[in-house]
Amino acid sequence: MRHGKYPFIIGFLAVPVALYVTFVVAAYIQTFQLAFTNWSGLGAIEYIGFDNFVKLWNDDLFWRSVGHNLYLLILLPIITIAIALVFAFLLNVGGGRNRGVWGSTGYRVIFFFPQLMALAIVAVIFGRVFSTDESGMLNGLFPDSWSPWLFLADERWALTCILAVAVWQAVGFYVVLFSAGMGSIEQDIYEAAELDGANRITLFFRITIPLLWNTLQVAWVYLGIAAFDCFALINIMSVDRGGPDGATSVLAMLIYRNAFEYSQAGYASALGVALFFLTLTFAALTLRVTRRDAV
């Protein structure tokens, strides 16, 4: 069997690796290369050293966008995981005696619905929910005498509105993920703990969370990645795409605008390089911080 091993593995990997090299690695290398040019997106390429990075360092909107990315990076995973954990717990053990609360099967399906919808559709729908006139769902609920809430048009709340939609969309998937994780926890452990007099809250914090730790880690990394993107939601929902006045601008949005609207592909690539290192740092940090001995 030993001789057969490598041809066998190579046979499996050749196509994916070739695709990965062409569409991911090559694109990376090109982005790094372009970051040192003042290429407009069309025509000749001229190398300008670190000028793009100097410009980036002095770009106020870049730092604000990084700030918005960090805001999403911290809040999106925390809120999503917290809500998903509570729901998953209620669906699986919330009813006591290792049963979910009444109607769990139905809820499980409903929670998963948002995940099935294309992000663009979700964004358009929530655009209507947050609409600033009385045709908006939320403003329509308020009494007529109130002046309309601006939601996405209010720079203080715009990013929070986007965050709310991202959470709404993500929760369902993590409810399912955590439910599966909880399902694999031995019933005996719960029974033993219950015999020892543990109540539901103790069960949740002392049994469920520690045994789910690995799943939580995965969820954290995935949600962090989602937080680095958010491009689709912001592109469709926000005022003036990234506005009002840059209040919802994130790195992905900034890259897009520079590359395709300002004809500054070189600068956009420098932004891409910055985003690359930010994501790398995030992934490394997450793995380090959440490292913990197996229970």
Partner: protein, 477 residues
């Protein structure tokens, strides 16, 4: 088989792989910017034919032609039903490949970079390509020859001589023409003439009349003035700039386009911004900041909004939502002060909708011939009938009654006489400045009503563009 079963995933390596997915998400972003091909340096073999009186541009009668039309407010019917049949009548052996897109830059730019450009491109819409960059990269065919060629159906005149004044200048970059700006757009305050006649309201000419009328409209329970802050704030920018132009002549706008220091802090700009900020403060509905142009335009169709700053494409864009009895009409922006240098009837009308020929396409001669066909009187009238939009072909739609909005725009042009000005170009030349002006206009009209801040902010942004060596500069005189 033990080797295979031994290589089971432990959870930690699964996590590491999850981290790797994070890295995979970046190129997805980076690739957006990385559709690099450097722009093919060498030009592919291009079709040419023999020049003659019948064939002034030297078209190869057998070469195919690829055209791409922007599918927006003007629709695409004019290309498929008027222009292409006209072209094919003359060149029956040239197969025209037609496609339409709403995302011009996303679809066309990678093709240009890959050396596979379509021959004639309609660069328009919110995702248009930065045309200055296209010209600068040598990807647009110089059109001097086209404008010097004899007109398709006007005896004894060249193509250039059949156009309205300023039409060629609009597509001229550093002294050479590269684009046909085909549609002739009249900008102003659009309103429903039927509603105004019913209420005995007359279009204002001075600012005092304007505010007095807005008060009356407000009292009648109609939002007097509004624009869509979410995606169409550049309509408001156009209103402010037009007022500035009327106060201090078009020179004010030329200085702005030329990035002259102090151009934005000019007294005319400040006065215009102050006047409009006053309108924003008193008459604008705050919720409009979060609305899109379609929503606002629909409200006007429902007579819930009186004045809307826009261009003459509006009537056609709203055609299917306009109820019977609704008659679009346009009024020039009223004079801001008594000392305005241009009269109240002065009008901002400009050629718009860029059509250009790819310099490095397979059949640039055919592309130019297609444009020559579009600039015939026959095609221009067909375009106007289908799109309810005038063209730069002078007098092509004269004597035709096509729609109320078009009639009103025609009257406004006649009344303005020689006081028609083309406006400004900084928004197409410097996209970044365009974005800044949209944000600044929204702040001015919805938030702080601070004209000084508007001017200072734009001045700073303009000077930043002027100082940025990576941005190609243009000039007009």
């Amino acid at each position: 088989m033990a080797d295979i079963t031994n290589s089971e995933l432990d959870r930690r390596s699964l996590l590491r792989r999850a981290g790797a997915v994070g890295l995979a998400a970046i190129p997805a972003v980076s690739m957006l910017s990385a559709c690099v091909g450097g722009g093919s340096e060498e030009t592919p073999e291009q079709a040419t034919g023999e020049k003659s009186a019948e064939n002034p541009l030297g078209v190869d009668p057998k070469a195919g032609l690829e055209i791409v039309i922007f599918d927006g407010g003007l629709g695409t019917k004019y290309a498929t039903d008027v222009d292409t049949p006209l072209y094919n009548k003359k060149w029956p052996d040239s197969a025209v490949t037609y496609s339409a897109t709403q995302e011009v830059s996303t679809v066309i730019q990678p093709r240009i970079n890959a050396g596979d450009a379509p021959d004639m491109i309609n660069n328009s819409g919110s995702k248009l390509m930065d045309f200055g960059a296209v010209v600068n990269a040598g990807q647009a065919q110089e059109l001097t020859e086209l404008f010097a060629a004899p007109s398709w159906d006007v005896e004894g005149k060249t193509v250039g001589e059949t156009l309205v004044p300023g039409a060629i200048e609009q597509g001229t970059y550093n002294g050479k023409p590269y684009a046909v700006n085909y549609a002739y757009t009249v900008f102003g305050l659009w309103y429903n003439k039927a509603l105004f006649t019913k209420n005995n309201w007359a279009a204002p000419t001075t600012w005092a009349e304007f505010t007095a009328l807005l008060d009356k409209i407000k009292a009648a329970g109609i939002t007097p003035f509004g624009y869509a802050g979410a995606n169409a704030s550049y309509y408001m920018v156009r209103a402010i700039m037009t007022s500035a132009g009327k106060i201090g002549t078009e020179q004010v706008l030329k200085d702005i386009d030329n990035l002259k220091a102090g151009a934005w802090t000019n007294d005319a700009v400040l006065k215009a911004a102050e006047a409009w900020a006053g309108i924003g403060k008193t008459y604008l509905d705050k919720s409009f900041l979060g609305l899109k142009h379609t929503e606002v335009q629909l409200r006007q169709n429902q007579d819930k909004l009186a004045f809307y700053p826009c261009g003459s494409w509006l009537e056609n864009e709203q055609a299917k939502d306009t109820p019977p009895g609704f008659e679009y009409a346009v009024a020039p922006y009223p004079s801001v002060t008594d000392a305005d240098k241009l009269p109240a009837a002065a009008l901002n009308a400009a050629a718009g909708e860029i059509y250009f020929v790819a310099a490095k396409g397979k059949n640039p001669r055919g592309g130019m011939e297609y444009l020559r066909g579009m600039l015939s009187k026959e095609a221009a009238l067909g375009f106007t009938k289908l799109t309810k939009s005038l063209t730069v072909v002078a007098g092509a739609a004269d004597g035709q009654t096509i729609s109320p909005g078009l009639t009103s725009a025609g009257e406004a042009i006649t009344k303005a006489g020689s006081d028609i000005f083309m406006g400004y170009l900084f928004d197409t030349w410097y996209k970044k400045l365009d974005d800044e002006s949209r944000i600044a206009a929204n702040d001015l009209m919805f938030k702080d009503y601070d004209a000084k801040k508007f001017c200072d902010r734009m001045e700073a942004a303009a000077q930043a563009v002027a100082a940025d060596s990576s941005i190609t500069k243009f000039n007009r005189s």
